[in-house]
Amino acid sequence: MLAVDDKDFGTPARASGQLVTLEIDGRPVTVPAGTSLMRAAALAGISVPKLCATDSLEPFGSCRLCLVEIEGKPGFPASCTTPVAEGLRVRTQSERLAGLRRNVMELYMSDHPADRSACNADGGCELHRMADVVGLGGVRYGWEGRNHLDLPLDDSNPYFVFDPAKCIVCSRCVRACDEVQGTLALTIDGRGFNSVISPSQNEKFLYSECVSCGACVQACPTDALIEKSVLEKRKQGRARAERAVVTTCGYCGVGCSFKAEMNDGQVIRMVPDKNGKANHGHSCVKGRFAWGYATHPDRKTRPMLRKRIDEPWREVSWDEAINYAASELKRIMKTYGRGAVGGITSSRCTNEETYLVQKMVRAALGNNNVDTCARVCHSPTGYGLKTAFGTSAGTQDFDSVMKADVIMVIGANPTDGHPVFASQMKRRLRQGAKLIVADPRAIDLVRTPHVEASYHLQLTPGTNVALVNAMAHVVVTEGLVNEKFVAERCEAEPYARWRKFVVEERNSPEATEKVTGVPARAVREAARMYAKGPNSAIYYGLGVTEHSQGSTMVLAMANLAMACGMLGRQGVGVNPLRGQNNVQGSCDMGSFPHELSGYRHISDASVRASFERAWGVKLDPEPGLRIPNMFDAALNGSFKGLYVQGEDIAQSDPNTRHVIAALRAMECVIVQDLFLNETSKYAHVFLPGSSFLEKNGTFTNAERRISPVRKVMEPLAGKEDWEVTVALSNALGYPMEYRHPAEIMDEIARLTPTFAGVSFEKLDRLGSVQWPCNEQAPDGTPVMHVGAFVRGKGNFTITEYIPTDERTTSRFPLILTTGRILAQYNVGAQTRRTANNVWHPEDLLEIHPHDAEDRGIRDGDMVKVSSRAGQTRLRARITERVPPGVVYTTFHHPESGANIVTTENSDWATNCPEYKVTAVQVMPVARRRKTVRSVAEPAATTMGK
């Protein structure tokens, strides 16, 4: 059911330059051509009864409730499927219509549970509302006839139930799964009276192809599909939402807007916000349902400290913890120098919070030893796109994909990592856009209902640059360069040098095939497809950046896009799919050791001066330590104190042994987090954090969209994360005084040109804005580099392919690459504390049948995965998703130790770790007969993959 305060216009809006005027119930109404009569009436304040129609779905015309009369036309057409026409005179109410509607409702109610009190207690049931609206007094048919009231309940899904007894087979759920989510997991089985909603092949929901996005629950007009959280609250008499607060999801970089429906200070459910510009009313399993971690019993709500990490934790007051932390940091600086301490900002905390951490490090600690988790994911994006275009961020908004004719997905798995955006992408693909996938693994997008990649370039891990160079070779040698764009928009000399480089025979698809493993013909055809567009867009993820040539690869993609003129308008672009809810924001806020907010180098005297004036302190002009450098310096004895806010570096960073050794070598590790995580095992001070439900602030998503985060409950630990940083800074002797995060954003806006027009007031008014948001673009900037690049002219860079040092040998003959899965999120700190575990209770090692057979490995066997860095054990899943020679795992569970085996190899420019290429050997540990089955099997592959 819809959010409590949402208005449903019945059918989607239509974009048309042509307007049509008609009359509805005597009122003149003017709407765009193509609008349905139902929607036109709703816009005029006239509600036409409906059941099968909802404005997130195309009209279906099945319920026969929304009938109207049109003067001069026979019959009673359905208003949902009838478009407006100039001069129509429509009546939505008449005796005849009333009678027809009552008859239709009577039929529905005759096969529906009689007790309406539970159904409609919180006002959510449209069926009962419509019964009231049409004035249905009772059901004349009695209850002795055939009905569906004894159909069994399906409560297999941990988050919602399906009660077919309450289902009116309006098919909204089926259409939602088709049109909105794009999974097509639901169908109507049977015909006529025997029709019943069927997940997959009459499976239970949990074992079907359902990905638990909640679109069906959202669409359902009855209680047939309803959240278990609502049912729980009904038992307590607290299901009716007292208020709904619009906020932003705390999971991935899509940044979905949600309404948190509240009753008595508790969240009843999270409903995707129709007005959310990133998600347009859609959601995924994580944001929609997996928010219970915020009140999980594992939450730590009291500060703790210990002098030594082998001592037990001692709960203390906030004052004691903060003062101890500050005194330790001061002692360390006095003993070892001010460069011996630093901080790590969180990509899950708000912009305001990350801004304060970097401010505290720079102003209170007096150095630039501040970094963020973007170091290990998209730091090459920052370097590469800034070098090529002048801005360290993606070029488009998400909606741009709907204008793309060719979509190239490189090193990303959007259906798992950015599911709501993936649904939008799939919608465009179903409309006819072409798809190229470059990935060693057969991600879902390669072949999914009604979507099939024209080309799956299944390259060997570590050879991205060779592949894209080969594509560029084709573009240049076959005369496919957009010469006009290049001449007008790009620097001539770098282009000439790049052109001379890329046409060399060694960059041809035929030459690079030996290295990439991708047939030359496929590369040529894919390159031509991309170049010819007309609109071609690149979407990429960590399969691009987490390589020793991560930055080079970003530059290579930028080269390709510039050469083909695929920048500066809708439908094109170079689009990094940033993983976390605020990783873009934490970078924007100056979390990097070499940059202040807005990506301005710390050595720039005039920029530094503006901050020095505002902050009242001299700033260090030299770049600070990156996270990997902090570890090296710790082992070297010159880095001794670390403040880690909302990051679990002991689990997420590569070469776990090295990280742990570094943490052990420090004298004061301060961890601020929701839970005691892996890093806290080596911490001396624990400061309890606050979830996204417990604070005010903003997040910036992958499309540069700054969205509000609104507090719906008081922080369980008594402080919002930003308040903790303020307290620590004050204790360090650098005073910070903010009454509300809005004041922090005001300061950010004063100091950061790309944020100059941002304020909480503007966000309240507009909902969200995309930076740059300033005088030139007061309402924000959806598409960048229109007319000119931010740096002026685009910069081509020669991108020589340099193989990684991480080579396979007879001892380590396979390549391990890592990734993510839909149900879990990053290190799993949040999702492992929700029912999402049912889909992914452990990390598995995907291995090709040939490699498995060579080693005597059977599906479900525990295997030892060893690399030059270490070894770990995982359960094997045999699958052809991975090619021979490549194995794959996720890192959501600390027990799996995926990062024990990953190495210290990193991107040359940014030290982003090369997670995607680790030479390993895999051998069976113990033989078992158990076959690996995710809960979602035995049906087709689903979320447990």
């Binding site: 770049p623 310096a633 082992l635 020589e800 340099i802 040359w908 940014t910």
Partner: protein
């Protein structure tokens, strides 16, 4: 910091600039990159290593590091 790590990182930077930049500007590019992104203690260590012969450093990288060292000295004496 372990010098072998610094040498490896510096050589990686060197390989990029040697292949990507105007050949005349590769050394300068390496030096600028180190100055922009390497924290001073990292630069001090690699400079010290280069001055002692720079074992393991590729030639253009060694030149870049010594260029940085000379700039630092000039700045200090100015």
């Amino acid at each position: 910091m372990e010098i072998r790590h610094l040498v490896k990182m510096a050589n990686q930077i060197g390989k990029f600039f040697e292949t990507s930049a105007d050949p005349d500007k590769a050394v300068e590019g390496i030096a600028r990159h180190l100055k922009s992104f390497w924290e001073p203690r990292m630069r001090r260590e690699i400079i010290a290593h280069a001055r002692k012969g720079g074992r393991g450093l590729d030639e253009p990288v060694k030149k870049a590091i010594l260029m940085l060292a000379a700039e630092d000295e000039e700045r200090t004496s100015a």
